[in-house]
Structure formats: C-alpha cells, structure tokens
C-alpha cells in the first residue's frame, strides 16, 4: 500500500485577521491562497487591501487573528516566515546611491543567498527585466518604472515561495508593465505563489487564478471570474451574470455592502 502523502499546507492561510487604526481597517478577514496560485485582491480605496498585505509581510502586527505562510505561523516565528516571502510595494524603495547589481547583492546578503547562486540569479533577472545595460549605474537617475523593476528583481533574487505585491503596476508605462506581468506569470508557472492587489481590474481578470474582493476590511466575494459573476448575479440584477466584465461584477458586489454600511 502506497503511503499517503501529507496534505500540502496552503501557501497563505489567514484567519480572523483584525487591525484597527481609528476605525477597523481589517475586520475579521478569512483568506486562503493555495500553493502555486496567482491570487488578486481587489477592492475600493480604503477597503483594507494594503493593511492586509503589510500584516502578511510582517510590516504591521495584527490586533487579532492568525497568519500562516507555507504552514509557518508568521506571528510566532516571523523570521522563518520572512525567509520564504518577498514584499513589493507600490512605491519602490531602493537606494539611490547603489547600482541595481549592488542592490541585488545587498538583498541576497539579507536573505543569506550563496554569492555564486545570487550572482547567477541577478544576471538572469537583470536580463529579463531589461536592466542589464544599467546594472552598474546608480539608481538615482532611474525612472519610476526602472525602480519598480529593480524592486521586483530584489524580491525575486532570493527565490521566495510567496510574493506579496501591492499595486506593482501603478505608474508604469505599457512596456514596463508588460515586463513585470511576464515575470510574475513566469514565476507563478514555475510554482511560486503570488498575492497581488491592483486597481486595474483588467490585470486581475487576465492574470489571476482567483480573485478576492475586499470591502470594509472583509472578504465579500472570492473565486474565479466565472464564480464571481455568479455571486454577483445572485446579489443584484446586473449584466455581470452573463459574461459581464470584472468591472461590472466588482461594482455589483461592492455596491451591496456599501449600501448596507
């Protein structure tokens, strides 16, 4: 008899997550993302998307609830959880006086990657993202798009199992945006888990395996685009039922909690 393999832990499992500032920003959020999944989190401004991601990345401590990343309790053992996670924010934070190659060396040092391995990965990423010609120029003269690509390269150089991205395409031109999307797709294809917030619903529609809609700090709907359309159809009379876009589905789903609030 073949031994039964233990079930693989979810890449990300969030239960009862709460964070309050002046008002509840995240209010009892439940979310599970499977390993190898591309998950898009969408929602109106102030819905709690960024706060949620910052808690997952270990940048904010929740008031209540639990976060497990790859089976590791991120609140009990944040260092172990951070070892397999990468965080990319909408505002690329890099060092003006370092070159992209030096930046990647620094990130590799922080994550303890072997130098030879890190050098190989860095060269590959610099090529993929069209940064190789600028690899030895200081970042101070770079555009927002280039800085965002460097931040993304930094997130990938230590080969994280889970990549958390907060609006990574904001302010990027079409070319840079496509490069970032290609790299993310490739990463998901090779088994990485991606959790991304975006305001560009088209991106979520095209790239994500599943989409979660968050409003008032709660997950109000979740699933593939088809599943979301069905959920929207039960909530409101809308075109969303029959092949409507994610935008229509999103507006239909978000409208109800807003009215209730």
């Amino acid at each position: 008899m073949q031994p039964i393999a233990p079930p693989k832990p979810a890449a990300l499992a969030i239960q009862g997550l709460v964070k309050r500032f002046d008002r509840p920003a995240v209010d009892g959020l439940e979310l599970t993302v499977r390993t190898g999944e591309f998950y898009a989190l969408v929602g109106p401004n102030g819905a709690g998307k960024t706060t949620t991601l910052r808690m997952i990345a270990g940048l904010l401590r929740p008031d209540a609830g639990s976060i497990h990343i790859g089976g590791i309790d991120a609140l009990a053992d944040p260092v172990a959880a951070k070892q397999i996670v990468a965080w990319v924010s909408d505002e690329p934070m890099i060092y003006d006086k370092l070159t992209p190659r030096e930046y990647l060396e620094f990130v590799s040092g922080l994550w303890g990657v072997e130098p030879a391995l890190a050098a190989n990965r860095a060269e590959t990423l610099l090529d993929w993202l069209d940064l190789a010609p600028h690899a030895d120029e200081r970042c101070e003269s770079f555009s927002k798009g280039m800085r965002q690509k460097i931040a993304l390269a930094g997130a990938l150089v230590h080969e994280p199992r889970v990549i958390i991205l907060d609006e990574p395409l904001t302010g990027l031109d079409a070319g840079s945006s496509r490069q970032v999307k290609n790299v993310l797709r490739e990463r998901a294809r090779s088994g990485g888990t991606i959790v991304m917030t975006t305001h560009i619903l088209e991106v979520a529609e095209r790239m994500a395996d599943r989409i979660g809609i968050i409003a008032h700090g709660k997950l109000i709907a979740e699933g593939t685009l088809e599943e979301l359309r069905r959920q929207a159809g039960t909530h409101a009379h809308t075109d969303a039922r029959d092949g409507g876009s994610l935008e229509e589905t999103f507006l239909a789903l978000v409208a109800e909690p807003a009215q209730a609030a």
Partner: protein, 511 residues
C-alpha cells in the same frame, strides 16, 4: 479677516499660516497634543539660559564704552551674524528647491513676484526669530543689570536678521549664476555650514597659535588686537553702539539692513521663478556608473547591512560634508594637541572633552542616517533576520565610522599620555553609544535627504543628544583630574539619557 486674493498681504497671510503650522509641527514632531509640554520645555530652556547669561554677561552690563567693550560686542555680534547667514542660506536654498507649491504658484495667473518677495521677507523674519531664544536671555540680563540702553540690542538682532537674509539671497543667487542649478544646492549648503563654523574656528585657531589657549577671550583682550582696532569714532563700531542703545547708530544700522533686504526683494523676487524652474530641472540626476565586483564573497545579513551603510555614506558627498562638518570643530583641539605635545598635560585636559563632545555629535548624525534615514525600510523590515540583529548591524556601522575617525587622535594622545588616551577612548565610546541610543529611541522614518531637518524634527532628541554629549565631555574632563569626582557629571549625563528614554515616543513599544 482675509485680504484681497493675489495681493502681498494675502500672500503674507498664506505664508505665515504655512510657516506657523510647519513650525508647530517641527517642535512637536507632528504631535499637537505635545504642544503644552514642548511650550513648557521652551520656557524652561529660556529661563535656564537667563541663569547662564547672568553668569556670563551680568558682570559686564555696566561696562564703559571703550574699545574693549566695542570689540567684544562687535565680535559676538559678528559671530551670531555668521550663524544667521548660514541659517538664511539654508532657508533660501530650500525655497528654491522645495517643490511643494512652486508648480502651483508658477502655473497660476497671479503675479508670483509678490509671493516670492513675501517669501524672502518671511525668511528674514524666521532667521531673526530663530536667533531670539538664544540672544534674548543675554539681552534681558544686560537690561536688568545695565539699564534700558541695552534694549538697542534687540534692534541690532532685527537688523542682523534682515542683513543676513539679504546677503544670503545675494550669495545663493551668485552661486546659481556661477555654478548653475545642479551644483548650487550642494555648494550652498556646504558654504552655509562653513560660514557658520569658520568664524568660531578661525578665532580659536588664531588664539591657539598666538597665545596657546583655545579661549577667544584671550585674543579679544590682547593688547596687539586692541591696538589694531579702529578709533572710537569709526563707523565700524556702529553696530556695537546700536546694541548699546545709541540712537543714531541704531537708526542707521536698521535703515541700512532694511535697505539691503528691500534691494534683495526687488532684485531677486522677479527672477525667483526662473531660478525655481532651473532648480526643478535638477530632479533627474546625471548617470553615475559604479563598477564594483559585486557577489565576490559571502555576505552575512549583518555584513550586508554594514557595508550598505558605509557605501551610501561614502557616495553621498552632501551627507558626508554635513556629517564631517562637525569635524571642523576638531581642528582647534588638534592644533592644541600639536602645540602642547612636548609640554605639560594641560592641553590634553582640554582636548579630551572636545573629542568626546565631537564623537557624541558625529555619532548622533550617523545614527540618524542609519536608523531613521533608511531609504528602504520595508525591505529591511521584511528581511528574515531578527530586528535586534538589524539594529546591531546599524550600530556597528555607526560606531565603526566613529572609531575610524577618532582612533588616530586617541593614538596621538596615547603617545603623550596613555592615561588621557584611555579616558578619551572610553569617553568617545560612551558618548557615541549614548547619542546612538537617543537616535534609536526617537527614531522616525525619513528620507536620508532630510538629514538637515533631523534637528528640528524632534527638538527633544536634539537637546538630549547635545546635553548627553556635553555631560560625557564634562565627565571626561573631570576624569582627567580625578576619577571619583567624575561620578557626579556621569550621573547627570545618565539622568539626561534616562529622561530622554522616558520622554521618547518609542520607549513603551518593542522594536
């Protein structure tokens, strides 16, 4: 009541509102609920300064108007004026390069000359007001002990603020024309800092070379200098006579200063917009290539953080100059050390506390850069290393840089007196660690480019850092004579640190 839109008065209302809110935000570190505590702190500081002033200038309030008195007042005023020019240059440079509202103003259909005129006048007012908390206690004591004639000193401060701003505007515009927008930002800030320090250091250097003492008083009271000074009737004494309340010199000094300021406003305000537009074009820095053999050896997280701090500091000439500017103050003690090398240990007793003080100040600046001036805080915070580990690496980077700078000086002292070197090394280490601790307790996220503003972002941290450095310098000074007597200043320095910890915003939270 609001003035008609677009008029100079309307702009003045707008500017004063912005300046007031900016000032309140600076002194309370953005927490208005602290305003009462901060106000009490300011009042306590001014009261304390009155005691200091009573001790320093009280005995001289009734001095006769002779060359000695005029020379002392003139030199003190010149010293303060240099610092005011430095402050005004810093404000003018910021006004050219800060983009917060210039796009809006320049794109609007109003006559922006009025606003820029008002802005220059506001800088003059700010420069004067910044000088008052330090000057007022001395003037008050002179009035109390020497009579109402010293009221003229307030008039002199106002005149100095106006003239310093006019000169700063002229200097900055000249730099703009000669060097262009790209270089002016860096050069103007270095020039401002050098102007602030040069006069003090220059006087000390001359005093050391001529009289073997660091005291400026020795130079100012020397017979050769008094012989060189102009006669009592010279107009060069008019600022000093204005401070002594003589009507004609006071009116003349005020009128000249306001005429200079008016000329600066009339000549520069119409061109201010062009300078601002030129400065805006500096946004994209030129391409600088740095070829270094990356990925050569295995880096631990600690090593990576340390190396990053050092590379960033080394590659930023502006930050380097701002940080090392404090090292200018080491020139006089170094000179003392050199002169007193083969003599007795009295020079060393003076050098040791100065080194300790400088180490505290330098470490404070570097610690701010490493702890608060982290340009990628999210990246560092999401790294898989404990936070105390990150802090440890940053402290190592700070203390390593301090050690690099001060070790040669301590070695030089050791050749003359190993005992003094031991005290100096201990004092430097403790003062640097104390300043680093203050910066850690008062840390706040900021860009490295905001380094110059760090001292106003938390007055409490600035005072704690300064008083801690002074305390450890005093401890080292006393320790050179008697270790047991040094316990008292050491306890005071520890109390300063304890107070800073209790009042710090992070004292009650884990890092």
């Amino acid at each position: 009541m609001s003035a008609t839109a677009g008029t100079a008065v309307w702009f003045a209302q707008h500017e004063s509102r912005l300046v007031w809110r900016d000032w309140i935000s600076m002194i309370t570190a953005g927490r208005r609920e602290r305003l009462r505590i901060v106000a009490m702190g300011v009042v306590a500081f001014i009261l304390f300064m009155h005691f200091v002033a009573y001790w320093v200038v009280g005995p001289h309030a009734g001095a006769a108007i002779d060359k000695q008195t005029l020379l002392t007042i003139t030199t003190s005023a010149l010293l303060s004026w240099m610092l005011m020019i430095s402050q005004a240059m810093e404000s003018i440079t910021r006004a050219f390069y800060a983009r917060s509202d210039l796009d809006l103003i320049l794109a609007s259909p109003v006559n922006s000359n009025k606003l820029f005129g008002v802005r220059i006048a506001t800088i003059a007012l700010g420069t004067t007001l910044m000088a008052l908390p330090l000057a007022a206690p001395f003037i008050d004591v002179l009035i109390a002990r020497g009579g109402w004639r010293w009221l003229g000193a307030y008039g002199l401060i106002v005149a100095m603020g106006a003239a310093a701003t006019a000169l700063a505007v002229g200097l900055t515009v000249a730099l703009f024309r000669v060097l262009g927008a790209r270089r002016t930002r860096f050069v103007a800030q270095v020039v401002a800092a050098v102007i602030g320090a040069a006069f003090v250091i220059g006087l000390q250097v001359v005093a050391i070379l001529s009289y073997g003492t660091i005291s400026r008083a020795a130079l100012l009271q020397s017979k050769p200098l008094l012989a060189l000074a102009p006669g009592l009737g010279s107009v060069l004494w008019w600022p000093a006579r204005a401070a002594l309340g003589q009507t004609l010199p006071l009116v003349a000094v005020l009128a000249t200063s306001f005429a200079l300021l008016a000329a600066a406003v009339i000549l520069v305000a119409p061109r201010f917009g062009n300078y601002a537009i030129a400065a805006a074009g500096v946004g994209n820095a030129s391409v600088v290539r740095s070829r270094r053999n990356a990925f050569r050896k295995r880096l631990t997280p600690r090593g990576a953080l340390r190396r990053k701090e050092w590379i960033l500091l080394r590659r930023d000439p502006w930050l380097m100059s701002q940080t090392l500017m404090q090292m200018l103050y080491l020139v006089p003690p170094a000179l003392m050390l050199w002169r007193g090398f083969d003599q007795d240990n009295s020079a060393l007793q003076l050098v040791v506390p100065v080194l300790v003080m400088a180490a505290g100040q330098l470490a404070g600046g570097l610690a701010w850069l490493a702890i608060s001036g982290e340009d990628a805080p999210d990246l560092v915070a999401t790294a898989p290393v404990p936070r105390r580990f990150i802090l440890g690496a940053k402290i190592e980077a700070v203390l390593g840089a301090v050690a690099l700078i001060f070790t040669p000086l301590v070695v030089a002292i050791a050749v003359a007196s190993p005992w003094h070197a031991l005290i100096a090394a201990a004092g430097i280490g403790i003062a640097a660690a104390a300043s680093t601790a203050v910066q850690f307790w008062f840390r706040s996220q900021a860009k490295r480019s905001q380094f110059r503003r760090r001292q106003v972002s938390s007055r409490l941290a600035t005072f704690a850092e300064a008083f801690s450095s002074i305390g450890w310098a005093a401890t080292a000074a006393v320790a050179t004579a008697s270790l047991s007597l040094a316990i008292a200043p050491a306890v005071l320095a520890l109390l300063v640190l304890g107070g800073a910890y209790v009042l710090s915003p992070r004292a009650h939270t884990a890092w």
